[in-house]
């Protein structure tokens, strides 16, 4: 009897202890704050949970943020001195946060990491500003060609085109057969004109990124090629917002090709369920001179470590964990985000996927856009002038003059700072 009387309170105590420890795992655990965006934010909990199991002394506080608010939120957090320890960063934002001196140089830590040689060069380069490595690639988001194999075949085009001329001819043939449009290039995005210019070898900016270089013959030639699609009615002058249902229109064959990114791999599979999977395919971008594949953008997101973090060791551990090949594959399974490292690509999930492998081939030819804080702003102006020219509201040469002037104006502060060595 005394035993039962004793056991009862003890088991209650034990239960209480268990509940308490369950609610607050390891009272003295180090807390690492981690911000992730969009669909990555939605699965970040899951990824971080695994990390916590392996590292019980560290607790990860995940905050998911919608992509559309991410940039503002990070800047505001910086201004308020509230940046989290680890955060996702769009590759084109890295230079901006470098100018803010908000990022820790992770090169010394990364040097000792075994993963160093695993990454594709183009994507690794996107995280380097000046001599400093300011983030670790998390996933790749580059653009390639999605096309209707059946429609191209019916028009007598066998292989996905490898050069600009072949591409243009193929699309013209498709267009003539179905007398509509052949390709969809949203006219309010800067990516396509910039990719074409990079393929021509245009530098976009000159004198150490102090001035715009949009009047250079290489850029002019690429811009002209871009506009030809609209001028010759191969592509509709429509924004991405105007196409109500890209998938349905692609499925119906309203157009036979578009340049888009990996997020559409999953979308196409899901939404084109009634279209035979062999009817469409992906291919790396054709190039200006026929060397294959042509250059595309080193887009995507990386993980950065805040310079002001007081828990850098734990934060780095989290970054190392999240960017390791097994987690790259996991992220791919959860969101469709493509791995930036070679090891992950040999995993059966990806190795056996022909449509995804086009991205793998594209990854050997990636270039990042100019790495300066002003880039996004200049890019938005490129999009604006490209749209005006594509709609025929502005003559191409006038649009380029205006674009160049504006880029020079945007870069004024940068020139002033560089002259004073700040």
């Amino acid at each position: 009897m005394s035993r039962t009387r004793n056991r009862c309170p003890r088991s209650i105590l034990l239960a209480c202890a268990l509940i308490l420890s369950g609610c607050q795992p390891a009272e003295n655990a180090e807390v690492v704050e981690f911000w992730a965006f969009g669909s990555e934010g939605e699965v970040a909990h899951e990824l971080a949970g695994e990390f916590e199991r392996l590292n019980p002394e560290i607790r990860v506080e995940v905050q998911p943020i919608p992509w559309s608010a991410a940039h503002e939120k990070l800047l505001t957090a910086y201004a308020g001195g509230n940046l989290p320890d680890v955060f996702q960063l769009g590759n084109t934002w890295i230079a901006e946060f470098a100018a803010l001196r908000a990022l820790e140089d992770v090169a010394p830590r990364f040097e000792s990491s075994a993963a160093k040689h695993d990454y594709f060069e183009g994507i690794l380069d996107a995280a380097v500003v000046g001599e400093r490595m300011l983030a670790v690639p998390w996933y790749v988001d580059t653009r390639i060609l999605f096309y209707r194999r059946d429609l191209l075949g019916a028009a007598g085009v066998a292989l996905p085109p490898r050069s600009w001329d072949a591409w243009f001819d193929a699309m013209a043939r498709v267009r003539d057969r179905q007398n509509g449009f052949a390709v969809f290039l949203p006219i309010d995005e800067w990516e396509v004109p910039v990719i074409l210019a990079m393929q021509r070898g245009a530098a976009l900016l000159k004198d150490g990124n102090r001035y715009g270089d949009f009047l250079h013959t290489d850029f002019r030639a690429a811009f002209d090629f871009y506009l030809r699609w609209f001028r010759e009615k191969l592509a509709p002058s429509e924004t991405s917002g105007q196409v109500a249902n890209l998938y349905r229109e692609f499925g119906r064959g309203d157009f036979a090709a578009l340049i888009t990114g990996p997020w559409n791999l999953g979308e196409f599979r899901r939404r084109l369920a009634d279209l035979d999977a062999s009817a469409w395919d992906t291919a790396p971008l054709p190039s200006f001179d026929g060397s294959y594949p042509g250059i595309s953008l080193a887009g995507g997101a990386s993980l950065a470590l805040a310079a002001g973090s007081t828990r850098k060791e734990a934060a780095w551990k989290l970054i190392e964990f999240l960017t390791a090949p097994p987690q790259q594959i996991r992220l791919y399974r959860l969101t469709g985000d493509l791995p930036p490292g070679r090891t992950a690509w040999s995993d059966p999930v990806l190795a056996g996927d022909h449509k995804a492998q086009s991205f793998r081939r594209q990854m050997d030819r990636l270039l990042p856009p100019p790495k300066i804080p002003e880039w996004e702003r200049i890019a938005s102006r490129i999009a604006a002038y490209a749209e005006k020219a594509a709609r025929g509201e502005m003559a191409p040469s006038v649009a380029l003059e205006a674009l160049n002037d504006e880029a020079d104006r945007i870069l004024e502060k940068r020139r002033w700072l560089l002259e004073r060595g700040r």
Binding site: H71, E72, L75, Y78, A79, E96, A99, L100, R101, A102, D188, E238, T239, G241, Q242, A244, N245, P373, E376, R377, A384, E387, K388, R391, E393, A402, R409, K413, W416, L417, R422
Partner: protein, 287 residues
């Protein structure tokens, strides 16, 4: 020094005004004379005092002129349209013979209390060029499809139409209140004197509604100058900059590119314009 006792009663309110109104506005004015940007955010040593440069640059900025033109278009077309539609609705809702007045008032007021984002999503479907309801209806009359939000010429009318529909309910309620303040005896006297409906409207309703009219006009005008959410949600200022408004430009410069100096200059130019317009309307009223 001794203050009038009244001062101590007003002081808390004054203090609040100073801290939350005059101080920020003063700071913004100061900011508009500097080139505060992302570099200065990192290191205040990279801040330059530029005097009136931001204002000078503003007047040479093609985007600003586009935004100004669009905003004036919106004020000049959308404003009067909105006032007229709300007046017409108020007259209908307030009419002696209208049944279910309360119900109609609530229904017409409904768009005002609906969130704009939800409204915008629905209207984007209505405006959709290929599958949208509007083009479907027009097709019934044999009119070809219009690319409402994608055509630079049509985007503004489309957004104005939506904005008027969204906002007229508020002004309508104000007008209804104004109409109900007009004594019924005036109409009775007029009808005994043999005045018809048109004369009653012109010589009784309109003059007695004048103060309400001014109030509605000023409020609508200020609201229209600050036009932001519709293009932000529906078009992001496109296509080809045809729906870029001043406040949207301000938002982009300030919160996308973090050019706070330049943004403050835009804000003060906008303030100046609204102020002048309000003075002009008040002057019109006195005449």
């Amino acid at each position: 020094m001794r203050f009038n006792p009244a001062f101590w009663f007003v002081a808390p309110a004054l203090a609040l005004l100073v801290v939350f109104f005059f101080l920020p506005v003063g700071a913004a004015l100061g900011l508009s004379f500097t080139d505060f940007d992302i570099y200065a955010l990192a290191d205040i040593g990279r801040l330059r005092f530029v005097g009136l440069d931001n204002y000078r640059r503003l007047f040479g900025d093609a985007e600003f002129w586009t935004a100004l033109r669009n905003t004036l278009y919106f004020v000049a077309v959308g404003g009067p349209l909105s006032v007229l539609v709300s007046l017409a609705a108020a007259l209908l809702v307030n009419h002696r013979l209208t049944p279910f007045k309360g119900l109609f008032r609530s229904l017409l007021f409904l768009p005002v209390v609906t969130t704009l984002v939800a409204v915008a999503v629905v209207w984007r479907y209505l405006y959709q060029p290929r599958y949208g309801v509007l083009n479907y209806l027009l097709g019934g009359f044999g009119i070809g499809p219009v690319d409402w939000l994608g055509d630079p010429d049509w985007a503004m009318p489309a957004i104005i139409l939506m904005a008027v529909w969204k906002n007229f309910g508020f002004n309508m309620i104000v007008f209804v209140a104004g109409l109900q303040n007009i004594p019924e005896s005036l109409y009775e006297a007029a009808s005994i004197d043999g005045a018809g409906a048109r004369q009653q409207f012109l010589y009784i309703t309109l003059p007695l509604l004048a103060p309400t009219f001014l109030f509605v006009a000023v409020i609508t005008m200020i609201g229209h100058f600050q036009w932001f959410a519709e293009p932000y949600v529906m078009t992001q200022g496109g296509p080809a900059g045809s729906t870029l408004s001043i406040v949207l430009l301000m938002y982009q410069q300030g919160f996308r590119w973090w050019n706070l100096g330049y943004t403050s200059a835009i804000a003060f130019v906008l303030f100046g314009m609204v102020f002048l317009f309000a003075v002009f309307l008040a002057w019109l009223k006195r005449r």
